[in-house]
Assembly symmetry: C2
Homo-oligomer: 196 residues x 2
């Protein structure tokens, strides 16, 4: 990688878009730098002008994907009427996004370990989890749930993540009305956190 010219950033982005296309087609495990090069009309060595190595491409991709999930979750909160509903909305939006972008979702979680090391650190600014934690904090402030916001956020996230993962992997091809079951699960979970 040399010093960047003016079109450097754009080319970089184009390469990432090709890489994402290939991930969507073949899954992240089969992504190959050579094929990204082929599909972008570059020779393989050329990509080293834009990324220091293959892992950097995958990392950049995962970061962009996380941004998209964050945006989708943010949108799901628009016009939400109550803090209780907000938590359910985030959960169902999470699963819906995973179902709509399965390869993106799997890429994200195969690559992106959290940098957060304990609850004493604040979660990353624009991370999906920060939205859930925010909603949990407001829900508790509103008296809709009891318990620590971290616990509630973790619970909602776990449930949503489990439903998403199962539907994408183990239960792929299983014929059921997952949307209804997922909503029932999240409703029950939050009801179970209601103050006694």
């Amino acid at each position: 990688m040399r010093t960047k010219g003016p079109a450097h950033a754009e080319t970089r982005q184009q390469i990432l878009e090709v890489a994402r296309k290939l991930v969507l087609r073949d899954g992240h495990a089969k992504l190959s730098l050579r094929e990204v090069a082929r599909e972008s009309g570059f020779s393989a060595p050329s990509l080293y002008e834009y990324f220091p190595n293959k892992q950097a491409i995958v990392d950049a991709l995962a970061a962009q994907v996380a941004g998209k999930l964050f945006a989708a979750l943010g949108k799901s909160l628009e016009g939400v009427r109550s803090e209780r509903v907000a938590l359910v909305a985030l959960g169902t939006a999470y699963v819906a996004w995973a179902r709509k972008h399965p390869q993106d979702f799997l890429l994200m979680f195969s690559q992106l370990g959290s940098k957060r090391r304990s609850t004493s650190q604040a979660p990353a600014e624009a991370s999906p989890y920060s939205l859930v934690l925010g909603a949990a904090t407001r829900a508790r402030a509103a008296g809709v749930v009891h318990g620590s916001p971290e616990t509630i956020a973790y619970a909602v996230w776990s449930a949503a993540h489990g439903m998403a993962m199962l539907q994408l992997t183990h239960l792929a091809g299983f014929d059921a009305d997952f949307e209804t079951t997922d909503r029932a699960t999240l409703d029950a979970l939050i009801a179970g956190f209601a103050p006694r």
Copy 2:
């Protein structure tokens, strides 16, 4: 693969044990037939006397691992006092097992798609899910929860699966008392399914 001699089954099992050892060490994605051969003291072509191809090794491994998870879940039900507690016990045992055998767990879910296609089919006899479904059915019969047993079983499984997956992947290295949070989550979930 020719017709089997008397020690065939034992050798097969030994090969699987070596393969499992390698999966534990390096993860399932890096498992290589050549290395299994090397570690078992065979030449690579010899393995074809015992398995038709590499995938068959992985499949056999995943099936054995599923059996172990099933056994661990079965054990968690021993001496359980109520149907409500049984559901929580299954969930926590599921997560505990995943934490104790992370590579086994990840192998299972990277390979083993469910053969079940809808709720009208019964779940596989000795499958982990059949235990959860059984517990959910009994819990409803006992009036501890309301709703369809499939929904309740799916909810518990999803939550447990999400917690396990997050702890093994995204939250690996995150310092928290997951056992407490997991139990709180499962308690809340089942409380949320209590009859109104």
